[in-house]
Symmetry: C3
Subunit: 378 residues, 3 copies
């Protein structure tokens, strides 16, 4: 394999932003979307597609370069000659200032009872208000950050289709699937779709995310979520919630909307850290349960870079499933770390009423919004 | 809940120091103490309480703002109208240069034999010499960093009272307690006390810390320690030690004393990392045991941000308790990571004499002082 | 113990590069080698040994200072008066630009069948081409980064000798050994050797590394590798591979070769992250197995600072050995974090053909080269 591939994978010296941008440009990558997001939201509200969003398809070595999925090696051929993002009107983040804040419901939805889950999702750019004063130029699954919760059981059949509505290629990588990523997780250009089917083998809280290169940029811009796989033999009855931690690395606002900043992602110092996409949202509107409830948190650390040292103030987990529940839980835990890209299951019993904050106890980052409240009512 | 609360919690854009300071000022938070510490130790030794330590009680939106416990939501009412730190003489760090260095004894004290532990502690500012050439303007429990070791057994009754001698509010959060933090862990202003009682349910090495917002600042300034909970059924006889790892983020010295720097904490790049508050103290004065001893380290990672990848050079742990001992230990381990906010128990048997350094094997930070020596004598 | 020792250990304020360099110079440490590497590779190709590589043996306090092993306290006496690196011709990195790239074979070699492993290695400086356009001025065991894979079984006898061919002192610390580091892991000056023997007690993927102070510098410059200890009772038959993750912190190129940068190491923001020393090498030349194979990865995280959140795209681990295999594996895992200084064992079964990327899913660092492909052929 030529070193073009390494270059395509975006793994050249990542500290050199100019190199990255030059190459991203050569690859029709990142630049058009970042440009579009910024331009669409620029103070004047006018898109300058003639320059900022122009896609340079010819590479610096005199060859056409195409986007590529760093988690696979096939899709460059898929996309060859088909991707001309150019000046397409990615105005989906226009008017981002007017987007309303919406609490993200952490409740685990019921699992399918038919043994079959059918999903047809769209990858698209969308403005997402993550707090009263911050709107993100998101790269999303289905228009929100995180994407929708998927809930199924071990052995169910998940039929998934992704259609790409965005200018740059995207893809889908489910950590709950055992499948050839070269085919299933391949990148698709605007207007095209990819479909695949899988049967989750293990229970657990699994991450899904866009696997298109550079993966860091796609996860960091909002393309992630959780698929919860319950075991066939039900776990003890509980109030069940999903918490997906992620980091935001943001450029200055343009037109009231902040794009994601790849260089900041490489520097791994986030501006915000959030559960379910909105910093501190469950402070304002806590998660509510009753005394006597068992509570089960399916916690995914989407990263892109940091673990979630999950802790509930005033409580202790009676079990933490580090692998697939119900196998070998840890007993009696104050905090245990979910690695970026991972998921774990935390259980506690609410013996007493009160307000129990849950946090990422790595406070240097946790202080940036990875905090909420579990309200236990009598 | 209004967005004032989010603001009070100190979770606004943390990268904007001016915003933080402005808000901290509005909250009678951080500024007075930081100011006091700096001023008290300024070269001229003169306090300029008229400016640097002034507390602005009126918020920027025309309402009185009060300090608040980010781990709870109640205490703002507790404190309403009562906290006027203003120009009170927090001269507790004056004369810091003359404070002597004292090795922090890592020996686990015996557990109470009465089934009852009664603690009456004070939160106060104190200069702490952490090395020959560095004195910290500490925020402390009982005047030292870390605070005192607490040792009890599962099911014991711990009766705890905290009295706040400092200008800004403080609180206490025991990870070994299952209790409503809204009441028990609430912040108290200068001169007031909070009391609560709990019975530890699980064995383990648990962190305690001040939970007043911003928690990052309070942990980062020295308000943390370890409570060791032994199981009812004793673990194998061993020489038992407590190691609490923490990070220091320091401003330049003023009057020979260095205050903690909140922006550095948010940047997560510490100046020093230490076991039991003093970088490399157990190099100079090792922990000493005899050949044949089983050694049990109760390791707490206070953070505020980094894990402790605990390792003993020339040794291997025959067991590491990741959850509550004696449940499901890991067998045969070179290093395992204690997450920030967590605690684990590491055991080894000293078969041979020698000098065995113990380290945080994440050397980028470990090199900054998280190193000591276990001396095994024949 | 005097505070000279703390100074010798290199644990003074690590953020002050001048202090470090001054002390390193006083210690005949780091400076000469870094100087040699830089000078040897300077554009003109001429060594200026008269200045850059000069060793100052007299300390700043008027006493002779000697290199010291931070993992031990003895070797300063070993070296006293014997180390005069001075202007010795450490031209081993000269001509670095012409060094060819070589894929590092990740295949686990067979374990000794005699119950005995005899190793006689040399510590030496060597240029290592880690990618098409980057050559490192490496500090190495046996001339490569990582050093050679060692494979033995629990209870085997490992007889090891290290001879130091480099100007500055080096040493060897095997995490698989239970031995007095004060003797066995002591630093030796140029031209001298140290020998020791050990019998691994626990199975697992163990790190080895140079333990000479500052350890961060020695690991960060390339002196690390893996010793794999298989259990006496064989694990299930599998295709077995070794992956050692490390970070590179590099100064600008001088003469086409890049030296390691200690201040960057302290800042913990790497330029590259690699499996087996070369960023993305297994993208170009994948690891190849057949459908039906069980694959066992022995993963070591050499750091010096970051964990490896090991993940295989499109696959799930059916077991991860966090401690010594075959004890208590985790079942059904998407990713689990190997702490810096640690090692874990990851197993999966290749049920289907495809190309399965393996990554460090902490993408802020993983994106810098911790990625490869497992190709499963029909």
């Amino acid at each position: 394999m030529s070193d073009d591939v390494t270059e395509i994978l975006g793994e050249a010296d990542p500290t050199d932003r100019r190199t990255f941008l030059a190459r991203a440009s050569a690859l029709s990558l990142a630049i058009p979307a970042a440009g579009a997001a910024l331009v669409a939201c620029s103070p004047g509200g006018q898109r300058r597609s003639d320059s900022a969003t122009k896609t340079v398809v010819s590479g610096t070595r005199g060859e056409a370069r195409q986007p590529h999925n760093s988690d696979s090696r096939l899709d460059s051929s898929v996309l060859k000659g088909e991707h001309r993002a150019g000046s397409s009107p990615t105005g989906s983040t226009q008017g981002g200032q007017s987007v309303a804040f919406q609490r993200w419901d952490p409740t685990l939805p019921p699992a399918s009872t038919t043994g079959r889950v059918q999903l047809s999702w769209h990858a698209r750019e969308a403005p997402v208000r993550i707090s009263d004063d911050t709107v993100i130029a998101g790269w999303t699954f289905e228009g929100d950050i995180p994407g929708p919760i998927v809930h199924c059981r071990v052995g169910d059949t998940v039929e998934f289709t992704l259609t790409n509505d965005a200018d740059i290629p995207h893809s889908m990588d489910f950590h709950a699937a055992q499948i050839d990523p070269k085919q299933a997780f391949r990148s698709v250009p605007r207007g095209q779709s990819v479909s695949f089917t899988f049967k989750p083998k293990y229970a657990g809280a699994y991450m899904y995310h866009c696997g298109t290169a550079p993966v860091l940029m796609h996860i960091g811009s909002g393309m992630f979520g959780a698929i919860v796989v319950s075991p066939r033999e039900p776990l003890p009855a509980a109030k069940e919630f999903v918490l997906v931690q992620n980091e935001y690395y943001l450029a200055d606002a343009a037109g009231g909307v902040r794009a994601s900043d790849y260089q900041k992602m490489l520097n791994t110092l986030p501006d915000f850290v959030a559960f379910n996409g909105r910093p501190s949202q469950y402070i304002k509107e806590p998660i509510r349960v009753k005394v006597g409830d068992r509570v089960r948190f399916w916690v995914v650390s989407a990263g892109p870079s940091h673990p979630c040292n999950f802790h509930v103030v005033g409580e202790q987990f009676d079990r933490v499933y580090v692998g697939a529940p119900p196998a070998s839980p840890l007993i009696g835990v104050q905090t245990f770390s979910v690695p970026p890209g991972g998921g774990m299951v935390y259980e506690l019993v609410c013996d007493i009423p009160g307000e129990f904050p849950f946090v990422n106890h790595g406070f240097g980052h946790g202080q940036k919004g990875a905090i909420g409240i579990l309200s236990v009512e009598a």
